[in-house]
């Protein structure tokens, strides 16, 4: 009995220790007053961002229509967003008379590098990959460089290096902008002393950039607002994340907003929150089709979008500039992609794809074709 009691005591001590580890990091400042100038800027930005974008964001035309016959290998991340983007990319380069082949990356930690090596072995004219940190791909990128194959990296947070001729598209600047937009919206919409839970997947650097930008902007525009971080693991999405968010809302009933760094993180959360009898506003960046449907239903409140068709076309545009020998600065807001704040009041007028995903500007194809000398 004594040993059993000791075991039990050890268990309780462990539980105590585990809870003592805790405490999600929070940011925010006491009851400081907002800077009226910053708040005014935020209101202006929010007002303009509630409107639909009317341009693809870049302005410089190509010096000539690209020469036909190129073959591009797309190293495809097995995520819905990446696949939609890759479909758009394939569609865009067809207009140049180019062909593409998509090699889907597996789930293993070495699979991205292996897939790029496989792409190099196919001796394409160029390779496109997205999401992975180039610094973790030294070996296959060295192979690409040795083979003289140029590489376009997109949705990465590192600068271009080696065979990578550009790494600016959908990079940190866009995520920072999207985070700032949502923070401004929350500050303008909810006013001072708003408590926000931010749900993030820190495994993806680009999402952490979004989260940091949101937190920084909210504390700047609304010093009395508070941010509670809820970091998740990839395996938690749709399983533990709903419970984690509900627990955070139980722990701190003053939380008025739940912001997701990417829409897929919200899977299953609305149902869990509703079952718990909790009411909270929901929004974030990178809305998926379910989030946009929830906006239409009025069950979620504000999202910014990432237009995957335009992202795919931007990749094709950058490839064309590289092979043309044109400057890789396409003009306009080259580091941004068209986006906007969508709410239940505005979602009806937002351009969406047939599958219900964010499109942004329905006239994007014509605008790109004009830049490419195809119309």
């Amino acid at each position: 009995m004594q040993k059993s009691m000791k075991l039990t005591c050890v268990g309780v001590a462990l539980a105590t220790a585990l809870t003592a580890c805790g405490g999600t990091a929070t940011a925010g400042k006491s009851s400081a007053k907002a800077d009226p100038a910053k708040l005014a800027d935020a209101k202006t930005l929010v007002a303009s961002s509630l409107k639909n974008p009317d341009s693809i964001g870049i302005t410089n035309p190509l010096s000539k229509t690209p020469t036909a016959g190129k073959t591009i290998i797309v190293v495809g991340t097995p995520s819905p967003v990446a696949e939609l983007k890759d479909i758009a990319f394939a569609d865009a380069i067809k207009k140049f008379g180019w062909t593409s082949k998509r090699l889907v990356v597996g789930a293993g930690p070495e699979d991205e590098a292996k897939t790029i090596s496989q792409a190099v072995a196919l001796k394409p004219d160029a390779i496109l990959f997205s999401g992975a940190a180039p610094s973790t791909l030294a070996k296959p990128l060295a192979e690409a460089k040795a083979a003289g194959i140029p590489v376009l990296a997109e949705t990465v947070t590192e600068a271009k290096s080696g065979p990578i001729f550009d790494a600016s598209i959908d990079g940190p600047v866009f995520e920072q902008y999207a985070g700032k937009l949502m923070a401004d919206y929350v500050a303008v919409k909810s006013g001072p002393n708003t408590n926000v839970a931010v749900v993030n997947l820190p495994v993806f650097n680009v999402l952490t950039i979004y989260t940091k930008a949101f937190t920084k902007e909210l504390s700047s525009v609304c010093p009395s607002c508070k941010v509670t971080k809820l970091d998740q693991q990839l395996s938690d999405v749709g399983t533990n994340t709903p419970s984690s968010v509900v627990s955070a809302l139980q722990r701190d009933p003053s939380i008025k907003w739940v912001i997701y760094s990417v829409g897929d993180l919200s899977t299953g959360v609305d149902t869990a929150v509703k079952a718990a009898g909790i009411k909270v506003s929901v929004g974030g960046g990178g809305a998926n089709a379910a989030n946009l449907a929830a906006l239409k239903a009025g069950t979620e409140q504000a999202w910014t979008g990432l237009s995957t068709p335009i992202l795919g076309y931007r990749d094709a545009d950058m490839m064309a500039r590289y092979f043309n020998g044109d400057p890789l600065t396409p003009g306009g807001d080259a580091l941004l992609l068209p986006t906007q704040i969508m709410t239940p009041a505005t979602i009806g007028g937002v351009a969406l794809t047939s599958a219900g995903n964010y499109l942004g500007d329905a006239g994007y194809e014509q605008q790109f074709e004009k830049l490419w000398g195809l119309s």
Partner: protein, 348 residues
């Protein structure tokens, strides 16, 4: 050696160590049995509840919180329950979680194509069971180890789910009546909790009070002996795999109704939690064998601890740490209880 054998051995290892007389002397001094070999999880669960209720009276120790916990764990519990039959029969079904995800995609896609919800549900249950038929054929007829066969099937189902969804999240096209099946609440607890209760009751009766249950444990305990007694061992093993797959189909339907959307990756994350619950459950109530009540205790013990940690504001990695610590702790208590019981019996 079967799964049940291994589990029993884990719980009772070192129980036959020498020094029986000393153990007997100790046993004679102990007259009160606390049942640690059977109820360690219940003790631990009570300790966890009391600990967090004292520490967090405003958030953890509320009726609402217990309702939330009950509803939160329904899917995990049902996946674990689906595993009981094959584990009892001495076979693994590693495809069960992938089958759940596959069926989420099937039932959603069928409705998006205009099929009525009842027909889509029936077809999904059939699809889920069909997976079990293939598993059973590969394991029984082709004599492929169940671990390998169902691992392979898991990968096939993941590919199937990707094919059905096109890698995209499926949204819309599902009737509100279907969504109500997963999202409505009764007495403040979501419907899936009640489905889980019904499923538990049915499985409990089958496993504990019918010949089928005895056949399962006979086959799982010693396949050769079961065969020699005239049991149709292959039929029992295949049947267990078919049942677990059919139940996975049912859980997939419920999960689809609960989520209101489908994507190819929703099922697999349930696998580890479900297996942990079943194996932890084998140390409870009926030590050494998979059982319904033990599994439910395990699911809710782990969930209660995780909930307490979440409400304490612990970082997300602590959840996994707690699950591991609780699993080892409960099994250690059960093993100790079993050793003492054996020592006591030997002394007597």
């Amino acid at each position: 050696m079967t799964i049940s054998d291994k589990t029993a051995e884990a719980a009772t290892s070192r129980s036959t160590a020498p020094n029986g007389s000393a153990a007997g002397a100790r046993a004679s001094r102990r007259r009160i049995g606390f049942g640690f070999n059977k109820f360690s999880g219940l003790y631990l669960w009570a300790i966890v509840i009391v600990f967090f209720a004292i520490r967090l009276p405003q958030t953890f120790g509320t009726t609402q919180n217990f309702k939330i916990m009950a509803g939160d764990q329904a899917i995990t519990a049902m996946v674990a329950l689906a595993l009981i039959l094959p584990v009892a029969a001495g076979v693994f079904d590693l495809s069960v979680a992938a089958n759940v995800g596959f069926c989420v995609c099937v039932v959603t896609r069928l409705q998006m194509h205009g099929m009525s919800a009842p027909i889509a549900i029936l077809m999904t249950l059939f699809a889920g069971a069909l997976v079990g038929v293939v598993n059973g054929f590969v394991v029984v007829r082709l004599e492929v180890d169940s671990f390998i066969a169902t691992l392979g099937m898991s990968s096939i189902l993941a590919a199937g789910a990707y094919w059905i969804t096109g890698g995209q999240q499926l949204v819309g096209g599902v009737s509100q009546k279907f969504l109500n099946l997963g999202q409505n609440t009764l007495w403040g607890i979501s419907y899936p909790f009640y489905y889980m209760l019904v499923l538990s009751l049915v499985l409990y009766i089958i496993v504990e009070h019918t010949p089928v249950g005895r056949y399962l444990f006979a086959v799982g305990g010693n396949m050769q002996a079961a065969r020699l007694t005239g049991l149709r061992v292959d039929r029992v093993r295949a049947g267990a795999l078919i049942c677990s797959s059919a139940l996975a189909g049912l859980v997939g339907v419920i999960l689809a109704a609960s989520l209101g959307s489908a994507s190819q990756d929703v099922g697999p994350p349930y696998l580890l939690a479900a297996f942990s619950a079943v194996f932890l459950g084998t140390t409870q109530i009926r030590p050494g064998r998979a059982n319904v009540v033990g599994t439910l205790i395990a699911v809710y013990l782990l969930a209660t601890g995780v909930k307490g940690l979440q409400l304490s504001g612990a970082p997300v990695w602590v959840n996994g740490l707690f699950n591991g610590v609780a699993l080892i702790f409960a099994v250690a208590l059960a093993a100790r209880g079993a050793r003492r019981q054996r020592a006591s019996n030997a002394a007597a």
